[in-house]
Subunit: 211 residues, 2 copies
DNA sequence: TGAAGATTACTACTTTTGTGGTATTGATAA
DNA sequence: TTATCAATACCACAAAAGTAGTAATCTTCA
């Protein structure tokens, strides 16, 4: 079975790099470059009509930087898949890009073969990024929160019940899943609510999801 | 230049898997398994003395689950590098693990060669995880956007109401905040649920939060 | 061994949420 | 200019969730 060609747009101000990427993509089976743009303004104007599968986006560009461009593109096209391709490895730029809507973050020094692989990965619902960048992202999760400590005070069973609650299960459904009575579920929930200092299902779920 | 051997500890309740991993690691150049534990309690007691470079940790275990075990280990040994190795791919487990202090998250179906590579990556300051898992992590950075069918788009007011619902507000509280009657809130919610194809508050909130 | 905590379960009652039907008003699009 | 949609609102009933008190087992730990 032949895979469908992945269409790519490139936003990058440096001519050499832009052309180089374009050549790489068009020269690789399964990929086609459908547009190249030297800045965010042109990209923003043209990409909604092109509807590429994937956008490669530089950060540092004249007129409109890549992060703002991502933000505006995603507003128009929420499903558009964008990967940053940049020389920067600094935390701020990474987080801003991801917040703005990028799904992946690669460095320009990435090998061509690896780059193509990453584009495919992105298109398939992944988030390509180097292991080092992933570590920075993961690190932002690791400030221990009060919420989390509260969750630790929950017993195994309570955590289990809370996890089903957070899937939207009703008491009866939780009871049936765990082979216990609805009354027991109630009792657990009462204790969970007390431990988490909440008064409703939704609040408990929000705490559980750390929102 | 010969690389230094990476010492590994394994925490996993299933004998077969634990032994299999141990054999794999001891049979691979550059890796050595210095301890295996069938549960969190034993791991917690022994690992501080062993001081392995890397810990492979299962989630589901009797006595103390992997997440709690990570949390306690990291409290004692903040620099310890831990990677989850589990069958679960669900969001909650991933985030809880990372929050608790895991630096990587791998699935048990990971190929042996890839697993060894990931251990090395972890040891070198990376955060090995599949691209799909990375996407889930990245998604938490992005603004909750409802990417539903355009035809079923929620109106402004409906989105507003949903946002309060997602804060855990009761109907009465939403009504008071927006200066409308509880009945109106009800009507909106009814329409929202229909559009989102859900039947409860929690499900609606989960969709809203992209969970 | 005895206390503490986890898990199970019941009764009884209140509050909140979900469902269905209906209707008015104002804006907007066919 | 009619038809549709968004926003408002009410009634009535059903289902689910939350509160309160109580208690039997079982495990585990000091």
């Amino acid at each position: 079975m032949k895979k469908k060609t992945i269409t790519v747009a490139i936003v990058e101000d440096l001519d050499d790099i832009r052309n180089g990427l374009s050549v790489l993509i068009n020269g690789s089976e399964g990929f086609r470059c459908v547009g190249t743009f030297p800045n965010g303004v042109e990209a923003l104007a043209a990409i909604p009509a092109l509807l590429p599968d994937v956008v490669l986006m530089d950060i540092d560009m004249p007129k409109m930087n890549g992060i703002e461009c991502i933000y505006r593109l995603k507003k128009k096209l929420p499903l558009l898949q964008i990967v940053m391709l940049t020389v920067f490895e600094d935390d701020e730029k990474i987080f801003q890009s991801l917040q703005a809507g990028a799904s992946g973050y690669l460095l320009k020094k990435t090998q061509p073969a690896k780059l193509l692989e990453s584009i495919e990965e992105l298109h398939n619902g992944g988030s390509p990024m180097s292991s080092q960048i992933a570590r920075k992202v993961v690190a932002t999760f690791q400030q221990p929160t009060i919420v989390f400590n509260a969750a630790l005070a929950l017993s195994q069973r309570e955590q289990e019940i809370l996890s089903y609650l957070a899937k939207g299960f009703r008491y009866k459904e939780i009871a049936d899943t765990l082979f216990i009575s609805v009354e027991t579920v109630r009792t657990h929930l009462r204790n969970i609510y007390e431990k988490l200092h909440v008064r409703s299902r939704t609040e408990a779920v929000l705490k559980y999801l750390n929102k």
